[in-house]
Symmetry: C2
Subunit: 224 residues, 2 copies
Amino acid sequence: MLNEKPHLTLKHLTLKHLTFNIINVQITSEYLERAIEQLAKLPGTGRKSAQRIAIYLLKQNDDYAQKLAQAIVDLKEKVTRCSICGNVSDSDPCKICDNPKRDPSAICVVEEFNDVYIIEKSNEFRGRYHVLGGVISPMDNIGPDKLRIQELLKRVGEDDQINEVILALNPDAEGEATSYYINKLMKEYDVSVTRIAYGIPMGTELEFIDEATLSRAFASRNSF
Amino acid sequence: MLNEKPHLTLKHLTLKHLTFNIINVQITSEYLERAIEQLAKLPGTGRKSAQRIAIYLLKQNDDYAQKLAQAIVDLKEKVTRCSICGNVSDSDPCKICDNPKRDPSAICVVEEFNDVYIIEKSNEFRGRYHVLGGVISPMDNIGPDKLRIQELLKRVGEDDQINEVILALNPDAEGEATSYYINKLMKEYDVSVTRIAYGIPMGTELEFIDEATLSRAFASRNSF
């Protein structure tokens, strides 16, 4: 009897596959599904991470979920941008622009507000900031008009106290292009444009440094 | 003049370090800070990811943040556990336990509710589930009493229709230990205990299979 054992043919596979697509998953909690769906939209979070977060939230006994939800709502409703520097702030102008103890002569240009946080943590810079809100990136369709560059020019043009603009953008292609662009525009103003030093990070060993960094470190060498 | 250039001594470094600790970062938005703090508590999310999520939420124009917050609140307030199978559900009993079309003779034992989702998606199993809520893990201080094992025994003991308990736990040390434990307890009941086959996954090549899987595949070989 040749036909006793069913043969697995391509037709079988296709039929099976079709059945698979037709019958839906029985979802027991629409609310859970909705939460996973929303969480999965967060950057760096896929469906698996979203499920893990949802399990975590479900298992928490305290009012953490409530606090998290409130913090997200407040974030959207109460956090604004400083009209002077573009930094995120609860007030306008922000605490840094409004602080008379900050050095009014220097502006540090950064990409995003988290860079302000990082520089503030280093406690090296006591001037004020200008947050561009991004960098020039033709690939992502971000031109100079989408950044707060006009605001920077206006600020530098109107405030006589400013005599230095320090560029502190990331040392990648977009950051470099943006630095060059701003430097060029600044030539019309009576300010010196500097940028933070790119080179060998402290505490590392030369053998672990990539060539681009090493090459920059040589090009930007200082007298000892 | 030997002392023209200041020497960097350990004392300088220590003083500088102290200064660094004394002066605080000037935070411009308390609400943003609070949101980052709450987001950073999520599993798999550190401060950097939390910042990235906060930037993303701030930049969204639509009402996504509101929807996300509502979904999180609903998750905690409206999602409950099915008192029969322990699966997450908007109703009690859940849609699967309450569905007369599901096969009443088989119970599939899984670790967590997301396993139910995965098995439902495969559309292979038409019985009902039992969600343990974890696996035995002495390292994490999770004993059998913290899992829904007593509920499983009660269910099998009280429902005469059940004649098969299928174990579908993860094939790691904890999953194996839990499977053995449940199998042992089930000997007192008139049900057959089976477990899903562990072996070579479909569509892979033998050369990419680890030894433990290969060894299991040989031990569990079937007649062709």
